[in-house]
């Protein structure tokens, strides 16, 4: 039966990355040895080769700009918030859930952090703790609502996105920019260690933590099990709702951290702080499914995916593409990646 068709439709609901009822691969797997090997190789490396070709193309187009160390650094700096959000998103997606609320949560966390300084004279440390606490709380709310299992996380978090954005606008007096941040707050992202900008260091730490969490902890293992087959996870004694809730809390914390980085980098809260950060984490996570034909969401693949998106965005800017064009390209890339991901899921 057409397993493919089934998989393609189930992409809108990641509840079944390779759901319990995914039968063994049903499609013919290539002809004789040579071709079978070829197909296998293509599956493993297709997206990585695509990444490499893209880098080469930008390099050839703008060798003087693209190939510089400065440019590498700026790609990584652009990648930092994407990496952090994508790492959190990977945990949620691995659970078989969706989160669409993080852009709103970033705004809300940022406005609270910045206002603690501007309106209450707080220092940077207090502001940061405040922003992170809001991120955690937002994740807890999302996770709690989802764990009630009354509606899909897709809809619940879509609604929360509006709620969070609305509160942020209300707090900031109708969405005005607040620029009163302390110097200490700016230095959180402005400084470098060993020549590496701090946001890159933060992103590296968080990606590593997410990797360890998913790969080496009981929580990570149970998360994978839930994403793989929620019913079987329940029967194995895993607390499905609770584990999913903690996944959203991780995501919320990541949103809080991204909020601090973004508002520190720009030195202000502005309503469009998270603008442009909605789609890239999804591109990164879905790209990750196909990396080395993993067949499921994974932090390593997500990391490669985040670097891919950041490189694509930077490259497009360097070659002088208009931003609307960049939007079209990234959206199109997401569609292609969804197809590739669906493919490697059915093959896994």
């Amino acid at each position: 039966m057409t397993d493919q068709a089934h998989k393609a439709t189930s992409l809108t609901e990641p509840a079944s990355p390779t759901s319990a009822n995914a039968p063994e691969p049903q499609r013919p797997d290539g002809a004789r040895t040579g071709m079978a090997f070829g197909r296998h190789w293509i599956q493993r490396y297709a997206t990585l080769v695509g990444f490499a070709i893209m880098v080469a193309a930008f390099w050839i187009a703008e060798p003087a700009v693209f190939g510089t160390l400065d440019n590498m650094r700026s790609i990584l700096e652009l990648a930092a918030p994407i990496l952090i959000l994508a790492a959190g998103l990977t945990v949620v997606l691995s659970n078989g859930e969706f989160d669409l609320s993080f852009p709103g949560l970033i705004g809300l966390s940022a406005v609270v952090g910045v206002q603690l300084m501007s309106d209450h004279g707080a220092n940077a440390a207090v502001a940061i703790v405040g922003a992170l606490a809001v991120g955690l709380a937002g994740g807890l709310v999302a996770g709690f609502l989802v764990s009630l299992q009354r509606a899909s996380s897709f809809i619940v978090t879509l609604a929360l996105q509006t709620v969070f954005t609305g509160i942020a606008l209300g707090l900031s007096g109708g969405g005005s920019t607040i620029a009163d941040v302390t110097e200490g707050y700016i230095s959180v992202t402005f400084n470098r260690v060993l020549g590496v900008p701090l946001p890159i260091v933060y992103a590296a730490v968080i990606v590593l933590a997410a990797f360890v969490l998913m790969r080496f902890t009981v929580f990570g293992r149970q998360t994978l099990a839930i994403g793989s087959n929620p019913g079987a996870a329940r029967l194995a004694g895993i607390r499905v709702g609770q584990t999913r809730m903690w996944g959203f809390v991780v995501m919320g914390l990541c949103a809080g951290i991204a909020a601090v980085i973004l508002s520190s980098q720009t030195g202000q809260f502005s309503p469009d702080l998270a603008g442009g950060l909605f789609i890239p984490p999804f591109v990164a996570a879905f790209f990750g499914i196909s990396v080395l034909a993993a067949g499921r969401f994974n932090v390593f693949g997500t990391t490669v995916g985040a670097l891919f998106v950041a490189t694509l965005q930077t490259g497009l800017t360097i070659v002088g593409a208009d931003s609307y064009l960049a939007n079209i390209v990234i959206g199109a890339v997401l569609i292609v990646i969804l197809f590739v991901a669906a493919q490697s899921r059915t093959q896994a």
């Binding site: 002809a31 040895t33 080496f216 793989s228 079987a232 004694g237 067949g295 896994a348």
Partner: protein, 496 residues
Amino acid sequence: MATREQPVVALRDVEKAYGTVQALRGVSFEIHAGEVIGMVGANGAGKSTLNKVISGQTAPTGGELLVDGEPVNFAHPREALAAGIALVPQELSLIEDRSVAENLFLGRMPKRLGFVLDGELQAQSRAALARVGLDDIDPTVPASELTPVEQRLVTIAEAISKQPRVLILDEPSAALPAETAARLEPIIRSLAADGTAVIYVSHRLAEIQRLAHRVFAMRDGRHAGDLAREEITIDAMVQLVGGSALREEPRPVVKTRADAPVVVRSRGLGGTLVHDADLQLHRGEIIGIGGLQGSGRSELLRLIGGIQGRSAGDVDVLGGGALETPHAAVRRGVGYVPEGRKAMTFPTMSVAANSTIALITDISRMRTFVDVGRERELAGGIAERVRMVGDLDAPITTLSGGNQQKACISRWLLKGVKLLLLDEPTVGIDVHARAGIHQLLRELAAEGTTIVVACSEPEELVLLCHRVFVMVEGGVAAELEAPFNVEQVVAASYAR
């Protein structure tokens, strides 16, 4: 059966490698019109792989496939179907959110001007369903609303409705209760009488004995031998598939329960079908739940395990009252193996991870970090005991069906529970491994675990259980104590 004619399908020295796993090593095979071939072999012997090659699901890595004497190269199952070869795969493959009718006629709906002729479709669906005894199924309901047994019958109906020249049934009866499986036999006989060639894979050797004109045995990816009709006996098949005769399993001897603590006690327990169940199960007992399909066997198990909510009565498990959730059950030392592999496998996870998932916290460092070394060691040890063959680090989907079943059951054998509830645990497991699992269950019981097995095969209940409760229409109709025999179980199942 017409053996002198040209075979409809023939294989010559077919090889199939999955990466480094050599699933088929030079297999030759042929089947003639009207012939029923019983295919037997241990789990992982290569039966499903061979049938996937014949039906174009997978391409061989060597050798030749001939249809009507002509070499063919199927690039897609569609091409095999066009050549008249239809496969009912081992794993259920219905699209759950589509209707039964759509599933039956996917890709070949009756149409006019591009529009599906709905009346026609329903009529054809009803006819196809009637063929397998599903007269009372409404073809417009989604496949997800059917029970696993009905889903299995629908996949068989689908294949038959294609009127294939070669019909391949890969363990069609595995997930079916014995009395439903028996319904397939006359259907297969009549198909064969009409000239259809049938390949019938099963671990239930008695079925093969009744149905097959010839037995084709496989072992380790090779053709292990043939049995002609008159040579087909259970013993001969057991020898061929395992290379050794089966050791006689020890018959259960009932112990005095007077001094053994009570593990489960129920009073008037009821669910949707089950009613008034009064049970008292003791430590170290192996209890069977018998009865016909739909008699409430599985439900009784779920009610005890807290998987399904009670509607009446009370139950006490291990002195802690009723269980409300599976999580609570596991905490109290109760493991539950559901009916059907899909309900318990984690397809994206490794074999090792699948067999340790229930005890992953217990074997972690500081209850947080997975102890990978320990995990592998435990998974490897249990794999040996249940005779599971396969790469522990590979995804579980690379295992043969029976080996997947073993990996899933292993998680409770490793967990060391006090009460183990098993629903049709040996479905799809080969005869030698089945004896091995029985032995493991006996050892667990001797160490004090209470085991409850819901099972549709009276033979298995007789081999394994100290006591059996036979269900009829949701009620406990009889309680048998070892030694009892198959006839007694059957008689009680049909009692009113």
